[in-house]
Symmetry: C2
Subunit: 340 residues, 2 copies
């Protein structure tokens, strides 16, 4: 058998048996290979889990050298236009930009915030960019569980700026805050009205508030909104110790003020790296990730237990109607769990 | 044996064997009996747990008819003076007021926020008041775990206003918010400076912000601070849907504005009871309590396991130094846990 045929043979082996091939592909910055690596990471099949874990263990030493940026905003704040504009700026500066999404709603609504790549067509076509649509299926919460692993794969493949987009659903912002270095909140003009509908505590997660659509007839209002946000931020604790969370304006559509956002990120990186906070925070994030993972697994095994599942609704109802104490109810559920 | 001697005999039985006696005592609104009931609830002894549970199951139908008020504030905001002043006002109106504390710091610093009853001597001496110092020992987190049960006992003993004080340590405010109907935040003058040091998200837990020490030369500044808080609150989401969180001023020391705080609570109660939100929220709190309890127990059994405890520091360190993936680390810990 000639060597070429042998090679072809190896390449055709199922992905889960060819970790070395994927790793080599990532080191060659092969986008297709990165896609396949992420598919392996996101797979819920038991036979893929061990392989994915092995692959990640190999990739881990190659990861970490990047800027991880979280981006959130109310619907209509122009997140995709901003990400495209911001991503293109960075790609043109020579950075390699990966865009990921944490979208716990995708399974609920059948859609996906990054499902449609055409939303950011220009960025998607740039050779330095990699856009990963969020998974369209899987359990709620499954998405974010794999985003951290996906970050490792992207970094190993040489992407040095990661943009992690999230919609404001559930606890997704808190999750994303826990996996990025810098977190930005995109808002629209009319701070007062908008903030009324904004999620609690979100302002205090942000390292920058960016008033988008500051263009044309909207410009004056955007400047006013910026002042309002500055005022509120003055009263709140900054997300990062020692950092004064700025309120900026930009127009993603006309690519104005985007450079300034990047300068803010760089200034933040410089400050947190000089103080050592950057590494400290990454270490803490890794630690918290470990414990979050363990807790999730504990809860999954308990609440996924058939006996617990069949008993839970009844005792829950009794507790809610004050017919049963919590101690009694939880005791009954633990009895059901251990009674094998 | 005469009946009297028999009675005496029964009274002398260890508390854990005399649930009926305690329950009878509570129904007679006997403060000493309430203290004993709470001691039983707080006991960590295994032999007390079953009895406490049984007692609570009996008390549960007698509880619930009260206003549960959470009170927090930065150190120096005058929480004890406020609680004394507020509590006396209510006692004089004929209410029966119980004061409890959630103080996760007590075990750390050896002290206790309510340890010294003399802090509120006048209230403590009022026949309508019951003040329970926070437990001085026990595991961190143990305190709040029992506060909910203590609430049930107090209500069964006829206390219709519960004041639950907390210092701003750890997650104590979030915990207390989850067990009360109305949550108030006590602050001092100088909103800007003070808020900078205030815990994230705390403003969004409050149903009222109260600027204390609005008296004498401090009055003008207090009014200014009140305006500042109003402005911030305008931008934030209210803790309770449909309720506009007010900023009030008062002087606990001179008993000014205290009546107005009570009127605010009553207005809130009226609104939430009319909308049904009051009952809805109590039901949700009971449900969340159940699940919090279960999760805590799951984590305690996992992280309290000797094999897990001996392995955890090592894998945690490796995860923090990016030498081991989270999946690998959590897999190792679960292996250790199940390897019996």
């Amino acid at each position: 058998m000639g060597e070429d045929i042998q090679k072809k043979f190896i390449r055709r082996k199922p992905i889960e048996e060819n970790v070395d091939g994927i790793i080599d592909g990532l080191l060659l910055k092969d986008r297709t290979m990165l896609s396949r690596a992420i598919t392996l990471i996101e797979s819920n099949a038991d036979r893929h889990k061990k392989t994915a874990e092995e692959m990640l263990q190999h990739l881990l030493p190659l990861s970490g050298d990047s800027i991880r940026i979280g981006i959130t905003g109310v619907p209509g704040a122009g997140k995709s236009t901003f990400i495209e504009s911001f991503g293109l700026l960075l790609c043109n500066k020579g950075h390699r930009v990966a865009v990921l999404a944490v979208d716990p709603s995708s399974t609920l609504h059948g859609g996906s915030i990054l499902g449609d790549k055409t939303r950011m067509e220009r960025l998607a076509n740039h050779p330095n960019a990699f856009i990963r649509p969020s998974p369209s299926g899987g359990a709620l919460g499954g998405v974010h569980r794999k985003t951290r692993e996906t970050i490792i794969a992207c970094e190993a493949a040489g992407y040095d700026v990661l943009l992690i987009e999230t919609v404001g659903v559930g606890q997704s912002e808190v999750m994303v805050r826990g996996m990025v270095d810098f977190f930005m909140l995109l808002v629209l003009t009319g701070a007062g009205d908008e903030l009324q509908g904004m999620k609690k505590g979100i302002m205090e997660l942000a390292d920058a508030v960016i008033v988008n659509k500051a263009d044309g007839r909207n410009l004056d209002l955007a400047k006013k909104t910026q002042r309002e946000y500055k005022q509120i931020l003055h009263f709140l604790q900054p997300a990062t110790k020692g950092w004064t969370t700025p309120a900026l304006t930009c127009s993603a559509l006309y690519q104005e003020g985007i450079e300034q956002v990047w300068e803010t990120v760089l200034r933040y990186m410089k400050m947190t790296k000089e103080s050592g906070q950057f590494w400290e925070s990454r270490k803490m994030q890794a630690k918290e990730w470990l414990y979050a993972q363990i807790k999730e697994q504990l809860e999954r095994s308990f609440f996924g237990d058939n006996k617990v599942k069949s008993l839970a609704p009844e005792v829950e109802k009794k507790v809610m109607n004050e017919e049963m104490t919590v101690a009694k109810a939880s005791g009954l559920l633990f009895d059901a769990f251990y009674e094998k």
